[in-house]
Amino acid sequence: MSIIVRLQSEIFDPGTETNAFLKANSKAGAAVTFTGLVRSEPKNPITSLTLEHYPPVAQAQLEDFAQKAITRFDLLKATIIHRYGKMLPGEPIVQVMTLAPHRRAAFEGAEFIMDFLKTGAPFWKKETGKNGEVWVAAECRDDDARKRWE
């Protein structure tokens, strides 16, 4: 199967996931791995991040984005791992991995998936910090990032 989409609450190890993804494919010449992390900025530190999601739709949307990336950039393989539930600063939230014959396709495929994933899959972030719980607002620049592929 060239597409794997995994939604999970458990933490994952980015290195282990990358090594498993890289396992033998003779046509492959390039792999790109992107890991999104829970950020806690010194100006606005958070103690945890909680992601709510709509499971069937999140799964279907991510599979659709992975399939579109494979078709558009001729990828050999695409994997998306996305967490939900409570996570701590520094922990991985999401990992996107693409495999292609050449580097440009692998880079662009991973960016394409991330740009769609940010605003097109039903996940919602809530930060917990000194001001209590705050839902993260959607950012216009994320919409713009998605539009550049249209």
């Binding site: 992601l51 605003t119 039903p122 919602w124």
Partner: protein, 83 residues
């Protein structure tokens, strides 16, 4: 039909789901939003900025002008913030 609410909508309305029986005059998701808002002040407030409310019909993300005929589940949620 079943209605689902997510994220701050769910918190503000104090419920994640409910079952409603809209009249035949409710043809689209936009009509459904009007009808829900007429019957519930908290929903009226939460739906005030319509552009900020996204919707899914039977697990497919759709626009507000989508017909709701025969729909089993309609989900309402704020703009998505994944990654």
């Amino acid at each position: 039909m079943k209605i689902l609410y997510f994220a701050w909508l769910r918190e503000r309305l104090n419920r994640g789901e409910e079952t409603v029986f809209p009249p035949d005059s409710v043809k689209t998701i936009a009509d459904l939003m009007d009808w829900l808002a007429e019957n519930d002040e908290a929903i009226a407030l939460a739906f005030e900025k319509r552009d900020l409310i996204k919707t899914a019909l039977d697990e497919i993300i759709v626009e507000h002008d989508t017909p709701v005929k025969d729909a089993k589940t309609i989900a309402f949620f704020p703009p998505m913030t994944g990654g």
